[in-house]
Symmetry: C2
Subunit: 396 residues, 2 copies
């Protein structure tokens, strides 16, 4: 009996969409799946029980943040991520690569160019903590070791996500380094798994920027590593949506059908629908939680903002017919008041609604793929969602 | 059948403590009771369901804050406080008096002396909003009208809580004004109640600073108004604890036995126990919720702070044997991590623990009064709570 197994239940006739199940040690994940992001081992404002009630099947945590605080050794001592956080279902940790390259630059502990903050070598990356400027060094092996200590079901290879506007020369180098690092990650992972009770699945990451030849090359290389899943990184980072879908189409033939495909950092409801139709099975995005904390929420009519005075005396729920805890129990008027007063309950109620919106969307996506009605569902959803979104913006 | 009824189930033999039940339109309150404070119509970080699960029987909201935002008319339109907030049990609103005198001075929209900010006249009080400096005028009648619109079960008379260190002359004037205002509140309340479906109980407030003769005079006057409950204001505002208990003893003979007594703004677990033994039935205090947001929590051994490094690798709950949601599901290590990272879930988990600690304490108090074991319970609790509190402080 395998620890990880991916089974396709149905494939859409008109698109590349498929519905499947990915078995992990902490339970089965129904794909396509949206994974709420719990950066610091907490999906912001929500408890594990709320995530369970919402219907979330897997959540993310972040290696970079947890390595800095409280440290992976503490979490290991406490029994690993799931025991520590009281989230009993599957978890995924990213490798920290993305944060090393993005966060360390953002905070600017020095005004010199970013190259002095992140030093990329063949062996690994030297970076400064965004918290206190202290210097750290991540190698592929270390990223795997930390993730082994954290103990999630799915762990990610350490990659370099090069800036989208970097030169082709640089993107090529970064991709080749990512490939060599992926091999080292695989080797380290196999070594660590030998003596480990809790089994983990390692997903390597395709890179290559917006260049067709590089993406093809990377897809082939990563597929050949023959690991239980495949991730696509470096997309949705500034390139056009058309470009993103083009690349998904381009690499599709090189991706083994019998493995889950994870498009990292995507996305909005309409992006997710499009990506599903391009063959993607797994998604993560902070939009649902971050938007909520800034007062905006999704409905079938697009995105709205609670600051809008129309909600002040609105007795109805945020979204008609929505079955989330927030919409079943509170009026838009009360949620708006809580948000305007920055009461934490308001941020939580909005987060519950947004996360439920995506989780529920995924359920509908799966149902419609199973019933061979996906393309129609997608078109109807996107038309309404996009049209009203624009319409709504005009009303401000 | 009366809308409000207070029934004493047992009185302690050795102290003035009593256990009772106060019937209101939204349900029965078991006294002595602790009422969590939901200043802006939300007990900070908690949902109504969590408060229900904790065992809270009544919560507070604040007239001053809700009058300013979103405005009592909005809340009235939305069906009143309970419907709006989805809290189905009893509620109490204070009159806004305390905030008018304290908040308006704190924010300092002008650097001149506080008299220019709050203008006290016989008719009422002119004050400036702490939000935007706009000028407002509260009369006793207006405070009652706003509370009528908000729709809580228990509403408070508009009083003047004079600074504890003011002259006896000033405290006398403020007390006499408070008495005249209480009469006007009663009159307005009776007028408004006539055509009202939702019945409300008005509690007038005893003032008189730390002066024995004034407190006696005020207790007599307020008792003679013959309203369903009596509140004691202007205590726990800077005077010594001995003074507070002395005043509670002093006024006790003048308070009708068959009405609930509410000591406003008190207090810590040990203060509550002492006040119960001095005949108090109702308490409110922001300490449980505010302390939580600053990382501190109660155990039977006193107050602790999560910043303490001993909790970093602590697999146990915050308090051994505690049956709150937090202690049943999370280790001190995880709650500490969430607090240190300022994750909202951490603040919520700490708030749940602290509010449960007080609600559970009240249940134990009631049980022990019923079994004639209150004084022993009180002594044992306070000895351990205070001793360990000091001991703990030394360890920092």
């Amino acid at each position: 009996m395998k620890n990880f197994e991916f089974k396709i239940l149905n494939s859409d006739k008109k698109s590349k969409a498929r519905v499947g199940q990915f078995k992990t040690p902490h339970g089965v994940i129904n794909t396509p799946v949206y994974m709420p992001v719990g950066t610091k081992a907490s999906v912001k404002t929500l408890s594990p029980d709320e995530l369970h009630d919402i219907g979330a099947e897997i959540i993310l945590a972040n290696t970079y943040h947890l390595y800095l605080r409280p440290g992976e050794k503490t979490i290991k001592k406490m029994g690993g991520l799931q025991k520590w956080t009281n989230w009993k279902k599957p978890m995924l940790t990213d490798s920290g690569g993305f944060q090393v390259f993005s966060l360390a630059q953002k905070k600017g502990f020095t005004k010199k160019c970013s190259k002095t903050l992140v030093k990329i070598k063949e062996d690994g990356v030297e970076f400064k903590s965004h918290l206190d400027g202290s210097t750290h060094f991540f190698t592929p092996e270390k990223a795997i070791k930390i993730q082994s200590d954290l103990g999630a079901d799915i762990i990610m290879a350490f990659d370099e996500c090069a800036p989208v506007h970097a030169s082709k020369k640089y993107i090529t180098e970064a991709m080749q380094r990512t490939h060599r690092w992926a091999e080292r990650c695989k080797k380290e992972h196999q070594k660590l798994q030998k003596n480990k009770k809790n089994k983990q699945a390692l997903f390597p990451i395709i890179q290559g920027g917006i260049f067709d030849d590089l993406r093809t090359q990377s897809a082939k290389f990563i597929a050949e590593l023959d690991l239980p899943g495949i991730a696509i990184g470096g997309l949705s980072v500034g390139e056009s949506k058309e470009k993103m879908y083009h690349i998904l189409d381009l690499i599709n033939p090189y991706l083994p059908k019998n493995k889950p495909r994870y498009l990292m950092g995507v996305g909005s409801p309409d992006d997710i629908l499009e990506a599903v139709s391009h063959g993607i099975d797994m998604f993560d995005c902070v939009m649902a939680t971050r938007n909520a904390r800034h007062g905006s929420f999704w409905t079938l009519n697009g995105r709205s903002h609670l600051a809008n005075a129309v909600y002040k005396n609105d007795k109805d729920s945020l979204m008609k017919g929505c079955k989330c805890y927030t919409c079943k129990n509170y009026s838009a008027s009360y949620v708006r008041h809580l948000f305007m007063e920055q009461e934490m309950l308001g941020l939580r109620l909005l987060t519950i609604h947004n996360v439920y919106f995506l989780v529920d969307l995924m359920e509908q996506i799966r149902k419609n793929i199973l019933n061979d009605k996906f393309e129609k569902f997608k078109k109807t959803f996107i038309k309404r969602f996009k049209y009203e979104k624009q319409d709504h913006k005009l009303s401000f």
